[in-house]
């Protein structure tokens, strides 16, 4: 990992990875913190001679680990559900849609939420979701399936036409 790789990652991957971690944890500042920390560790590992084949996949996994554990977990996860459910309603945005999907996400158990965000926001396939979460593919599939069931109900009531126009 050199500065070129780092800059490339920051422009190509960083914005969406931070957004994904924020969706999972409910904390935007915490998300920036863990993704940057993931990059710091990638840099250090690489400086010590370890090979990192995919900076994107590596940083994704480490960032999720960090968000899940220790100090950052505590800081980020406390109140995450409330923050996610409450949403951040800004002027000029369709508040009902945002609140609905946020509330639905926020009600999911943590691991299901993680799987859904990785699958549908970061667009990872099931194997990549499993790798990022450190679980067998079967577990990832099961988490996704349960999460989809939970979300189907919440989203089924939403007006798709409104979504398309705004």
């Amino acid at each position: 990992v050199d500065e070129f790789d780092l800059r490339d990652f920051v422009h190509q991957e960083y914005p969406r990875l931070v957004a994904a971690v924020a969706l999972i944890t409910g904390s935007r500042a915490g998300a920036e913190d863990v993704v940057q920390e993931g990059l710091v560790r990638a840099w250090q590992r690489s400086a010590r001679g370890e090979r990192i084949d995919s900076l994107a996949a590596w940083t994704r996994t480490v960032s999720l680990n960090l968000a899940r554990s220790g100090l950052r977990r505590i800081r980020a996860e406390l109140g995450a559900k409330q923050r996610i459910a409450a949403g951040i309603i800004r002027q000029g945005e369709p508040s009902s849609v945002r609140v609905d999907i946020r509330r639905a996400l926020g009600r999911l158990p943590r691991r299901q939420r993680e799987a859904i965000v990785l699958r549908y926001y970061l667009d990872l396939d099931e194997a990549e979701v499993a790798a990022a979460m450190g679980t067998p593919v079967g577990t990832a599939k099961s988490l996704l399936s349960r999460a989809r069931s939970g979300l189907r109900e919440a989203l089924g009531e939403m007006d798709l036409a409104e979504v398309k126009e705004t």
Partner: protein, 583 residues
Amino acid sequence: VTRLDEQLRRELDRIAEPADPARVTEAVLRRVGRAEAMRRVKVGALAVAVAMASVAGFLGLTRVFGGRESRQAAATLAANGPITFVEHDGRTSSISTIEPDGSGRVKLLASDGLVTDLDWSSDGRRLVYGWGDLFVLDLQTEETTRLTPNGFGVSWSPDGSRVVFAEDREGQNDAIVVTNAGGTGATVLTEASNLGWTDWSPDGSRILFVGPGPAGAGQGWDIYVMNADGSGVTNLTNSDTVDLDPSWSPDGSTILFRSRRDPPPGWTVGHAPDELYLMAPDGSAVRRLTTDDARDQSPVWSPDGGWIAFTSQAANGNSGIYIMRADGTDRTRVARVSAMALAWQSLPEGELVSPLPSLSAAPSQSAAPEPTDIGLGFPVCHVSSVEGDFGSGRGTAYIATRMGDTGGCPTEGGGFQVIAVDVSGDGIADGSLGPLECDPACRPFAAPDIDADGIDEIAVAVGTTGGSTLFELYAVAGTTIRPLGYDCTNCNEGVFAWGRPGGHAEGAYCPSGQTPGDFVTWWAEQTDDGNAYSLVEIFIDVKGIFLFEVDRRDSEVPFDASALPPGGGDDFCGAPVAGAAAG
């Protein structure tokens, strides 16, 4: 792709807020710098503590820090680690370290028999030593392993993966042999009579060694170079005298060696006192560094290449370890000892670098409180403590702030904060570790026996968040203090929270009965309808210094403090909670 899939993608895209990448690269690089600085200091302090603990059978070594403040040492000198040297009393060899300014002399270990070879791996973590029997001491694992029974003049490869030495093979020629760091996979690079004194080049491509001089030149030795695969053996000095102890400068541009080529009046070549010389890697441009008519031997470079340390024995018997700049100036005696071998350990692993720019940026000075001495080898301020049993009845764990380098007390947490433990209860610290990462300052929190092994752990409050106190755990083994952390790749250190700030509650407790784990850390938050707590409990096993998450339970309990697990109040696993972090 189902309608639901499509809908999820669109909805998540709508609510997600991609981050702004501007200036992130710079921020990450700054964090790398700071993390490296912290890691170096932590590893350095830990490595020294481990080394001391592993050899404490010989000595009751107690200090991680100390002796670093050197008023006379130049800044460039202070940037290098301690010098390691061997003394031999006719029966036992003792290996000690001393700061290049002559302070902080510490005996590392004793070894039966002679030790004439010493070399630190370039990361400063492993020391190879011995005479014939060569051993490797690994500061991290605290293990000593035997490398070979017949090795002399040993040297590490620059990456620390291999060692090269001269092997004494009975009835045959000597050989220059490379093995891996564990002593296996031996490969003979070259053979001749009377081989010794190897040194691997900093770029790993070449190896220096000493071999016999040209035929017919008596008992002479010359300095040779070869490629690291044993090819291209070349005699660099081709003299009819004695050239020994070759050593590459850290940048690989110069070779340092000792020679008897310029005998003082009355001496014969070959028996004259050794003097120190430099030459280019091709053997040209030989330059004499010392002219003292004393035996100047065992020359080694400082890790930064700015200095040379050597032993010197004068005709009147006065002996010592000396240092001088690489140009031969500023010669200074470090210690008045008769040393047999030298090695200069690289920082960061050798000692605490002080001051660290990122940590000691203009600490504010105050007249009070007065610095005190708790036996750390340097004055401290803001001493707070908690009592516990750390191995022999009542002891005390301290948190203290190291006094500023310019004198006076920094604010609490404004200088290095150190954790120290008095195991024996005599009021003098027996072991210490630092610096701690505190935000803004650390305080002792409690001393519970979490893993029920009869020795209390130390909980240290390291900061606050949202009204809760954050704490870390430390274990005491002998006089060594080590942090407890998760044994999972890239997980965070073990940091736990404690407190009941309104809608949230957090704590930790030691379960009894059938519950898994040595202790449980938990947090709870009020549910949306306000009628319940959503509770998360993490069950943790403590094994040595590692924490293992063995179970996790999510549940809902009534919104009532009495429904929450224990912990979060004033008792942590049976130990009184002593205080909260400064905040």
